[in-house]
Every structure is written in structure tokens, then in C-alpha cells.
């Protein structure tokens, strides 16, 4: 598998190419997309992007965990975690693209 990693820069470059705004504004808009998604999730909202996937926030209850190295018991506090469920389209494209 390729080691390449895309970042915000690559996404804003793509927006720059596709839409023809300035590089600066393209970068700003990529940031805005991430910001709005994050804010909705922090508010406990589900973020559902058709043909991409769904981000949802789940509440986890407290439980007793264990340090696997020392065997020591540690309390794990109740917390909120984010889960991502990819769309069928994403699953199909990822499976097809990586088929050997």
C-alpha cells in the first residue's frame, strides 16, 4: 500500500483547481467545511454526507479498564466518541481501487 498521505493542503489545492478561487480562499473554505462538521458533532448532532458517509456521536458509559502492561485497574470515565460509517459508494470505491 502507498505511503502517501494527503493533508488539508491537497484538498485546498483540489478546490483551487476545480473552482478557480484563490489558493488562500480555497484553503479557508476547506477549513470552514471541517469547522462546521466539527461544531455540529460537538453539539451532539449527526453529520450525514450523502455518498460519503455518516459521522455520529455515541455516549460511552463508565467502566473499569485495565492497564495491559501492569494489570492495574483504572476507571474509564463516561465519554463521547465519534464513529464514522462509510457510505456504500465509498466502500465500493475503496474496495475496487485496492483490489490486487
Amino acid at each position: 500500500m502507498s505511503e502517501k498521505t494527503l493533508t488539508r493542503m491537497d484538498l485546498s489545492e483540489a478546490v483551487f483547481r476545480e473552482v478557480g478561487l484563490s489558493r488562500n480562499e480555497s484553503a479557508q473554505l476547506v477549513e470552514t467545511v471541517l469547522q462546521y462538521m466539527s461544531d455540529a458533532l460537538v453539539d451532539g448532532e449527526q453529520v450525514k454526507i450523502s455518498s460519503f458517509g455518516t459521522f455520529s456521536v455515541r455516549e460511552k458509559t463508565a467502566r473499569i479498564g485495565r492497564n495491559p502492561k501492569t494489570g492495574e485497574e483504572v476507571p474509564i470515565h463516561p465519554r463521547r466518541v465519534l464513529t464514522f460509517r462509510p457510505s456504500h459508494l465509498m466502500k465500493e470505491r475503496v474496495a475496487a481501487g485496492n483490489r490486487s
Partner: protein, 94 residues
């Protein structure tokens, strides 16, 4: 929040952009992530999270209805890991 609401929010904040351009910006953002993963690449968005591709090895599965053994091919699946900042924000730590 759904895709169209995200587009609307961005359009409202950027009155100088055409709605169809905002739609293209949002589509490009998500399409680019899928295209990268289809090439086997990672997409790392600091503070938000990282998308990557995980390999699931071939295995012998079972048809739950008939109990029959079936060969399941190796496959690649999308995976998302939440970024530290967002994880902290979800728990009021940032």
C-alpha cells in the same frame, strides 16, 4: 446536519460565492478524500481526524442460513480515526 445544510451554511457565510460553486467546493472536498483512499492513500486532517484504508485478510466465512462454508476474498475497507482536538472537544476538554 446533512450535505445540503452544510452547503447552505457555507453559502450563507460567503454571499460572494455562487451556490453552485459552494456545491462544487463541498463535492470536491469529499470526492478527493474518496479518490485518495481508492488509491490506497491516507488523508490526515489534523484536529479533525484521519481517513485510511485497512486490509481485511481472506477468510473462510459461513453462510449463516445454510451453514455452508464460503471463501471470503481479501478486501480493503475505509477507516476513520477521530483527531485529538475533536475528541477533546467532544468531551469538553478543549
Amino acid at each position: 446536519m446533512i450535505r445540503s445544510e452544510l452547503v447552505q451554511k457555507i453559502a450563507d457565510e460567503n454571499p460572494h460565492l455562487y451556490q453552485r460553486d459552494v456545491e462544487r467546493i463541498v463535492s470536491t472536498f469529499f470526492d478527493e478524500i474518496i479518490a485518495a483512499m481508492a488509491r490506497g492513500e491516507r488523508v490526515e486532517l489534523r484536529g479533525f481526524g484521519a481517513f485510511s484504508v485497512k486490509q481485511r485478510d481472506a477468510r473462510v466465512g459461513r453462510n449463516p442460513r445454510t451453514g455452508e462454508s464460503v471463501q471470503v476474498e481479501e478486501k480493503h475497507v475505509p477507516f476513520f480515526k477521530t483527531g485529538k482536538l475533536l475528541r477533546d472537544r467532544l468531551n469538553d476538554k478543549a
